[in-house]
């Protein structure tokens, strides 16, 4: 028997629970792509990915293949990766340099870096007297409706209407401020490598996990414990050798914190939940150690910014910022994961690491260790997350139940200045998931 389609999306979301079809129905997925991803501001990439004229990087927004390209005047355009002649994909490589202009591999139409038609072979003899030619915008590569750049991070919206990027980001722009402010030169540059890992689950399952403060001590116990044991051994060994408090690489602490921070302690970390589904999880790793590397960095920062501003900058205590619906930023470790839904049960994550311009090499290496150990395709942490995401998606595909529950600490959220804070000792509240689904329902119900 065919299942009846969900006719009324507004019935899918209640304040404390969500219908399972929201994660598994391919038709709902198609609507999500149209009404959310292909309308809101989506992260394209960082401007340092394409430093030279003609450099391009391909990307996907919702169902749309696009590319981000650097023009000869230094400007960045975001274009549909498509020739307007017969629809041929323009750039077949994931990234590269297009030279002085784009040239289609099918009939050699050429285009400027801003997408405008440059030439067609035998244009005069072939097209004189037709509606096709340089004056017809349909003969140029189509541009993303809107492109904005905040502190080097490039976003595009495929809808001509809607809030500006800064209005859309609201308080979540702290992700980029926190990252860039930590650089003595006030900006970051990309480390030229992108780890790409596919999750066999719906894109929302990943987003909901990002601020799920209950899961780490359950899911990441194995790695946390294993790292803690080696950390202890190394500490006692260094102590014996040097007769001082051992300097074990911070990467062990980053891993062991997953086990040593107990469930009740997770409850003491706060989440901040903003309109539009964006949310912030406060930091828990205590990344302000007093080792020589940190002290050297602090000295440079104080010289640059002065004591007061320096304290403000390093006092920002963030673990994750989630920018709904497509970006998870770990600003104090200078890395981010862009979420590209490939299908209802397949999600690509593109994972980048950034260098703080003007900071000592040791500071780069510290966050690099996290990038390699946690975010590479051989991840010691996300492996168990992805296993759970897959299992979640499998369970939600079944008739074993209709609802997903987000009821933890429901009714105890504190509303303050237009955002929702989790109450004291309610860090594991499912308020972030409730906030994300509220935004989802608003976007999906708003079928403009």
């Amino acid at each position: 028997m065919l299942r009846e389609p969900i006719s009324d999306l507004s019935k899918c979301v209640e304040p404390d629970r969500v219908r399972r079809e929201v994660y598994t129905d391919p038709q709902i997925f198609e609507l999500e792509m149209q009404r959310i991803h292909e309308r809101v501001w989506i992260y394209c990439g960082h401007e340092s990915q394409i430093p030279k004229t003609g450099d391009y990087y391909t990307l996907q927004i919702g169902r749309q293949p696009l590319l981000m390209v650097r023009g000869s005047d230094g400007s960045i355009s975001v274009l549909y990766n498509r020739c307007p002649h017969r629809g041929n994909m323009m750039c077949g490589d994931r990234h590269g340099n297009t030279g002085e202009f784009f040239r289609c591999s099918y009939h050699a139409w050429t285009f400027r870096h801003d997408g405008k038609l440059r030439s067609i072979p035998m244009m005069e003899s072939g097209y004189a007297g037709t509606r096709f030619g340089k004056d017809n915008p349909d003969c140029s590569m189509k541009k993303a409706a809107r492109v904005e750049n905040y502190r080097g991070f490039v976003f595009a919206s495929l809808s001509p209407q809607g809030p500006s990027l800064l209005e859309f980001l609201g308080e979540s722009k702290v992700a980029f401020d926190d990252m860039c402010d930590r650089a003595p030169e006030g900006e970051v540059e990309v480390v030229p490598n992108c780890f790409r890992v596919i999750q066999h689950s719906n894109w929302k399952i990943f987003l909901e996990n990002q601020l799920d403060a209950l899961h780490p001590s359950v899911v990441h116990q194995s790695t946390g414990r294993a790292a803690h044991d080696v950390e202890k051994q190394l500490a006692s060994k260094t102590k014996k050798n040097r007769g001082e408090k051992g300097q074990v690489p911070l990467s062990y602490h980053m891993l062991s914190a997953f086990a040593t921070v107990t469930i009740d302690k997770w409850d003491s970390f706060q989440t901040l939940n903003y309109p539009g589904g964006h949310c912030v999880l406060a930091g828990y790793m205590g990344l302000r150690p007093q080792d020589p590397d940190t002290r050297a960095y602090d000295k440079i920062m104080i010289k640059k910014y002065g004591q007061k501003r320096f304290e403000e900058i390093v006092g920002v205590n963030i673990h994750h910022v989630l920018i709904y619906p497509g970006l998870s930023v770990q600003s104090p470790l200078q890395q981010l994961r862009a979420v590209r839904p490939l299908g209802v049960d397949r999600t690509l994550t593109e994972i980048w690491h950034f260098r703080l311009k003007g900071a000592p090499e040791a500071i780069y290496r510290r966050s690099l260790a996290y990038y390699n150990l946690v975010n590479s395709p051989a991840t010691l942490i996300n492996a168990d997350d992805l296993e759970n995401f897959w299992k979640c998606h499998q369970g939600l595909s079944s008739d074993g139940g209709d609802w997903v529950s987000f009821g933890r600490h429901f009714g105890r959220d504190l509303e303050k200045d237009g955002h929702i804070e989790t109450g004291p000792n309610m860090g594991t509240s499912e308020a972030p998931m409730r906030g994300q689904m509220k935004a989802w329902a608003q976007y999906m119900g708003n079928g403009r």
């Binding site: 090499e361 780069y364 690099l368 590479s376 492996a383 296993e387």
Partner: protein, 158 residues
């Protein structure tokens, strides 16, 4: 010819330990300062200070081993196994002391739950002559699909 045979036997033994899930014995093949390295791109020249899929010393190998053996390593619970074939062994360099740089090709089939996957690529082993055989100073692993999207997580060494 003698070292060609010895190196081949060493590589076969290493592959056998992986397929047999004898993790500690596998780690013991490395020198105390030995490194297992899988770069994200064939153009990389060094493991140090760069993005890496793996860049592990023996301490990190121990973390990975103990994690895999922990009963709550959820992703390790389902049935899984591997089968390595190592071939095309070429000795690139050999010192008077008998230290060797060897290149080889591998093909690995992995079973995870009901899914079979294939991995292929090349190894470069920097081997130090040791009592009764070799110790690994550096093992470089270049996956043919290093730059492609990973449709899975690499749980242990390849």
């Amino acid at each position: 010819m003698k070292s060609q045979h010895a190196v081949e036997q060493f590589l076969y033994k290493q592959a056998d330990l992986l397929d047999g899930k004898r993790w500690q014995d596998w780690i013991d093949l490395f020198a105390p300062d030995g490194i297992y390295w899988m770069p994200p791109d064939a153009s990389y020249k060094t493991w140090d200070g760069q993005p890496a899929i793996f860049a592990e010393d023996k301490n990190l190998m121990t973390v990975r081993m103990n994690r895999v053996l922990h009963p709550d390593a959820w992703s390790q619970r389902p049935l899984w196994g591997t089968n390595h074939v190592v071939s095309n062994v070429v000795i690139e360099k050999e010192s008077k002391a008998g230290d060797v740089v060897a290149r080889s090709r591998f093909h690995m089939m992995e079973l995870r739950r009901d899914d079979v996957r294939h991995f292929a690529g090349s190894y470069q082993h920097h081997l130090k002559k040791a009592k009764g055989g070799y110790q690994i100073k550096l093992q470089r692993v270049d996956m043919t699909n290093a730059q492609a999207a990973y449709d899975y997580v690499l749980q242990v060494w390849v």
